[in-house]
């Protein structure tokens, strides 16, 4: 064996392909990002199309309504929903984020979606080939952690899109993914290599993968909370009589709906983060002899846990809803970013591995 150990040699050629596809997928994501943004920008046209179609359908229904006696429960309104301050109808944007009957085929969003899927497949190939080339899981250093995390964010978003109409978030999420890829490639480029002995453990598959997944989910809920804050302040301004400065936000659900959805994501991510911290403690016992040592990384993982626990608690017990809970969630995500960047690079501890 060239390196004398029982580690299989690295496949450099495949590693180069991985890097190439990482770059290509970033380009594709960028185009998808622009198209999603265009889809939002064309909100005027979209909304008028949807409203026209809904009007047509309603008038057809009224004509035939006289003959019917019992309407199916599905179409009875549960009381009239409170109209939005910007007067966008339920047909355009469903507060439960389901696809409505009138969700038109927004063509820009369609193309953006196709491109996103293309980007995800190239991105997925890049991540998997990197793992295959190094004969290990592709999350052994910061570059790999970030690029795999970006992949998880994109995949989760695209899968959820099958069930919920989250097209309004498209530019935000794909933009976030592109940023993460750029951050990984420019900030922490790491050539393909073996794992340092401290990381050679089956726990890397469990602890780090759940950490990546939880971080990806936190990223998505962060995106929702930011949109929620924008929407909330916009609705307040409109209700107060000011002109609508962000017309594309009419395609975005109400602030309350965004917050509830973000809350559900945060609960799942929180349970996963709890497991991350626990699995990290078990791994620490196998490597360093103790469950918890107040290492900077451990401390900041705990800080993240406490902030999100506070967020969940404030919502459940304190009745904190609205912008306050959004800010808590955003602070939590800030801690996630801090934990991943500053603590890894500038704090001296057991988690500062060479080769970043």
């Amino acid at each position: 064996m060239p390196n004398g150990s029982n580690l299989a040699p690295i496949n450099e050629a495949l590693g180069n392909y991985s890097q190439l596809f990482m770059l290509l997928s970033a380009f594709v994501y960028m185009v998808a990002f622009i198209l999603f943004a265009l889809d939002l920008a064309k909100s005027n046209k979209t909304i008028s199309e949807i409203d026209a179609a809904a009007l047509k359908r309603d008038s057809e229904m009224l004509v035939g309504a006289a003959a019917t006696s019992v309407s199916a429960p599905r179409s009875t309104k549960r009381g009239a929903p409170v109209p939005r301050a910007d007067n966008v109808s339920e047909n355009v944007v469903n507060d439960k984020m389901n696809y409505t009957e009138h969700s038109s085929n927004r063509n820009m969003a369609r193309i953006a979606l196709v491109l996103s899927w293309l980007g995800v497949s190239m991105h997925g190939f890049a991540v998997i080939s990197r793992g295959v080339a190094a004969h290990r899981v592709p999350w052994g250093n910061m570059y790999e952690f970030l690029s795999t995390g970006a992949l998880v964010v994109a995949v989760v978003y695209l899968v959820v899109l099958f069930f919920k109409d989250l097209r309004f978030m498209g530019s935000f999420i794909i933009g976030l993914v592109t940023l993460m890829l750029c951050g990984a490639t420019i900030g922490f480029p790491t050539p393909l290599g073996h794992l340092v002995p401290a990381l050679q453990s089956p726990w890397i598959v469990i602890h780090v993968s759940i950490a990546v997944f939880a971080s990806a989910l936190f990223s998505i809920s962060f995106a929702m909370n930011v949109l929620q804050l924008i929407q909330h302040s916009r609705m307040n301004k409109i209700a107060g009589g000011l002109p609508d400065k962000l017309p594309f936000m009419r395609l975005v659900p109400g602030a309350g709906a965004l917050e509830n959805f973000a809350y559900r994501i945060n609960t799942i991510a929180f349970v996963m983060w709890t497991f991350t911290v626990m699995a990290g403690a078990i791994w620490a016992e196998a490597a360093w002899g103790r469950y918890w040592g107040w290492d900077p990384k451990e401390v900041w993982s705990f800080v993240i846990w406490v902030v999100y626990a506070g967020y969940l608690h404030a919502r459940a017990t304190g009745g904190w809803t609205g912008p306050r809970s959004a800010w808590l969630s955003i602070i939590g995500y800030g801690c996630v970013i801090f934990n991943f960047t500053i603590v890894n690079m500038f704090f001296d501890g057991l988690h500062s591995y060479a080769g970043v």
Binding site: P2, G79, V196, Q200, A354
Partner: protein, 324 residues
């Protein structure tokens, strides 16, 4: 140190932190002998050349006083579990073996000296103290360079973590090491208050540079120092914590409880049946613990259940909003 044996007794530990229930009789007798310590470095990668890939300590363990020695390995993520305790591989380095002769020609110190690595190429700091040297005590401080090279400024640096060309770069001191005061000293620090520097880069005598096997005669007949051999050593942590299992169980229970508390939907449902002029009137309401989007679907399901049992005569449904 390679070749040395660690026996589980209080005196063998360099640092010991007991719990409150500890008694020195609690230490069960076992021994661990380091036969060899291997490091595998990455020689294949151009970008990570010299990165350590594997640390393995090949040891011989005896789990009781008259047990047969068993060969085992200790690695970074695979501690040695012995008699309920865990032995973790925590550090490693080089230990050059030196012989120091004093001014009278007698051997004042002979043996391996632990050197502390400072970087990834194992540039290691070391201190040698020879208190038995006569007429003056001798002390040395400096570096071990496993693969000694000279850089642009003429300074000696290490080029590789493997011991391809080991050299000792030392300054020497003579005088009073300060060990007779009864005050404990740091093994890795030389107290130069009562020592005069004999060898140093800045003095005429120059610094000491020893290649493997070389001997250096100290100026003014103060003695000599020989670089005999180079060994490796490992640093281990021994840990005994009987609370680990209960903690693991409770932590897992806490996680399960958390998941249940977050994901179990809580509902209150009221159903009222009234006799309204011969007609059966059903009133029902649902309440969730907070905002719960699934409530509406469950309300529809309830409606369907009631509808199938008591078909609707009229569509008089007075539905309030579902909110918290």
């Amino acid at each position: 140190m390679e070749g040395e044996t660690f026996v589980n007794s209080l005196v063998s530990y360099d640092a010991f932190t007991p719990g409150t229930g500890f008694d020195s009789k609690s230490l069960t007798p076992y021994s661990v002998k380091l036969n060899k310590f291997d490091i595998v470095f990455d020689r294949e990668s151009k970008t990570h050349f010299g990165q350590p890939l594997d640390f393995t300590a090949h040891v011989e363990t005896r789990r009781s006083a008259d047990a047969e020695p068993v060969e085992e390995d200790i690695k970074v993520n695979h501690p040695l579990r012995i008699n309920g305790a865990d032995v973790y591989l925590v550090g490693n380095g080089y230990a050059p073996v030196v012989t120091v002769k004093d001014g009278n020609g007698d051997v004042a110190f002979s043996g391996p000296v632990v050197s502390v690595p400072q970087d990834s190429v194992y540039t290691s700091m070391m201190v040698i103290k020879a208190p038995d040297a006569k007429p003056e005590q001798l002390g040395f401080q400096g570096f071990l360079l496993p693969t000694a090279l000279v850089d642009e400024t003429g300074f000696g640096i290490s080029g590789d973590p493997n011991a391809i060309n080991p050299q000792l770069h030392l300054n020497s001191f003579a005088g009073n090491l300060g060990l007779d005061d009864g005050v404990p000293q740091n093994v890795y620090v030389l107290d130069t208050d009562n020592l005069t520097e004999v060898n140093s880069r800045t003095l005429d005598a120059g610094g000491i540079v020893l290649e493997a096997g070389q001997t250096y005669q100290l100026p003014e007949g103060k003695g000599s120092i020989t670089f005999n051999d180079l060994k490796r050593y490992i640093a281990v942590d021994v840990n005994y914590d009987p609370s680990k299992t209960p903690i693991a169980i409770f932590a897992f229970l806490a996680l399960a409880g958390l998941a249940v508390s977050l994901f179990t939907p809580r509902r209150r449902v009221w159903v009222k049946l009234k006799n309204d002029n011969g007609q059966r009137r059903v009133e029902y309401a649902l309440l969730a613990r907070g905002e719960d989007p699934r409530l509406e679907r469950e309300s529809t399901e309830l409606h369907n259940i009631f509808d199938s049992k008591w078909p609707l005569a009229s569509q008089k449904q007075d539905q309030g909003e579902v909110n918290a």
